[in-house]
């Protein structure tokens, strides 16, 4: 008994980039991410000029202070962790006192909180939204699912950690993490941003003095 094989039509969304194309594009972290080569070379020149490191380190700390004081997370809720994320954004935990304004556009945002399970069909969209965010940008992986796949790790359609899709700066454990945990993760991220190197290298510690 041989069944007739029906003709399967090609869906219209095949014209878009498929997963394999996304894979080739985004296998590794782009080298231009968070750095502009011309900008880096100019600041390297200033930094290596005698006494120039004062300029770069002061500018660095100023820019990092500005960056960490206005981290705007894009509202990107994927699963039940998004409920806790909303609670964190709401008035009781109030991330606006940290300068974080949840913003509904990736083009104005600095931070993506991946809150929930990422499956293989969702991963290209997540990648696209991350690509739409302007540099410098950060990503917080919230919850077990986004960290490692969590309880669905052995499912056939679950990405085993969002760090296989986008680079992640802070991992928040929990299933789901309470708002306190996410708040702690956001504070860790702010601490990380304050040490963020953009305007050239930091001054090397002098072994004779230090």
């Amino acid at each position: 008994m041989k069944p007739p094989v029906p003709e399967i039509p090609v869906p219209v969304w095949r014209n878009f980039k498929d997963l394999q194309e996304w894979e080739q594009l985004h296998q590794e972290r782009p080298s231009g991410d968070k750095h502009s080569s011309a900008f880096v070379s100019i600041t390297e020149g200033i930094h290596n000029f005698p006494g120039g490191f004062v300029v770069t380190t002061v500018a660095d700390s100023f820019f990092n202070w500005a960056r960490k004081s206005s981290v705007w997370p894009v509202t990107f809720g994927l699963a039940c962790c998004a409920i806790e994320m909303m609670a964190t954004f709401a008035s009781r935990f109030d991330v606006e006192r940290l300068g974080m304004v949840p913003w509904a556009s990736p083009r104005h945002s600095d931070l993506m909180i991946v809150s929930g399970t990422v499956n293989i069909k969702m991963a290209p969209m997540l990648k696209r939204i991350y690509e739409q965010m302007p540099d410098p940008k950060w990503a917080v992986s919230m919850g077990s699912c986004a960290n490692s796949g969590g309880p669905f790790r052995h499912g056939y359609f679950v990405v085993k950690g969002v760090d296989r899709v986008i680079p992640v700066d802070v991992y928040v454990p929990g299933c789901p993490p309470p708002p306190e945990s996410l708040l702690n993760g956001l504070l860790l991220l702010q601490d990380q941003i304050s040490h963020f190197r953009r305007t050239g290298k930091r001054a090397e510690p002098n072994p004779k003095v230090d």
């Binding site: 069944p3 007739p4 029906p6 095949r14 498929d18 394999q20 293989i120 056939y156 085993k160 296989r164």
Partner: protein
């Protein structure tokens, strides 16, 4: 029409149908051979007045083969009909009931997606949940759980 009348009507019209013993408050559970699947669904719609199509799914019984399950309801007379068919070992073809119940369309697509059952007569049989380039049918028992699938795993 009462539940007992429906049971006797099924056993009269379909001699090959195996009707399981009645459970209080439960539906009629009838197993028919695959070639009787479409006539049985038509009979259930026309004669038992089971006009509400609830769901269609499948079960993988390993070496005994696949089994297709559909639930129909007669809401007026409170008759539930669970119709089953065993496709047999190694067979993945089943007649489609989409021409009878329009709601079976996506359910059969999902059963094709997850179990690889080819529904003959389905108007648009392609994957519904998984991506178009997916290899294999994940709810089969023979599907390896940790099958690597590019690009994200």
């Amino acid at each position: 029409m009462t539940l007992d009348q429906a049971r006797t009507l099924i056993s009269q019209r379909f001699a090959t149908a195996q009707v399981e013993p009645a459970v209080a408050g439960g539906p009629i559970v009838a197993t028919v051979p695959p070639d009787q699947w479409t006539p049985f669904a038509q009979f259930a719609k026309n004669d038992l007045h089971c006009r509400f199509f609830s769901f269609l799914s499948a079960v993988d019984w390993k070496e005994q083969g696949l089994e297709v399950v559909a639930r129909l309801d007669n809401v007026d007379d409170r008759i539930g009909l669970m119709m089953k068919t065993k496709l047999g070992p190694g067979v993945s073809a089943c007649p489609s009931i989409t021409p009878i119940f329009r709601g079976a369309d996506w359910m059969e697509r999902e059963a094709y997606d997850m179990f690889g059952i080819r529904f003959e007569g389905h108007p648009d049989l392609r994957r519904i949940l998984l991506t178009d380039d997916w290899v294999g049918h994940p709810l089969l028992k023979s599907y390896a759980v940790d099958t690597p699938h590019p690009p994200y795993r």
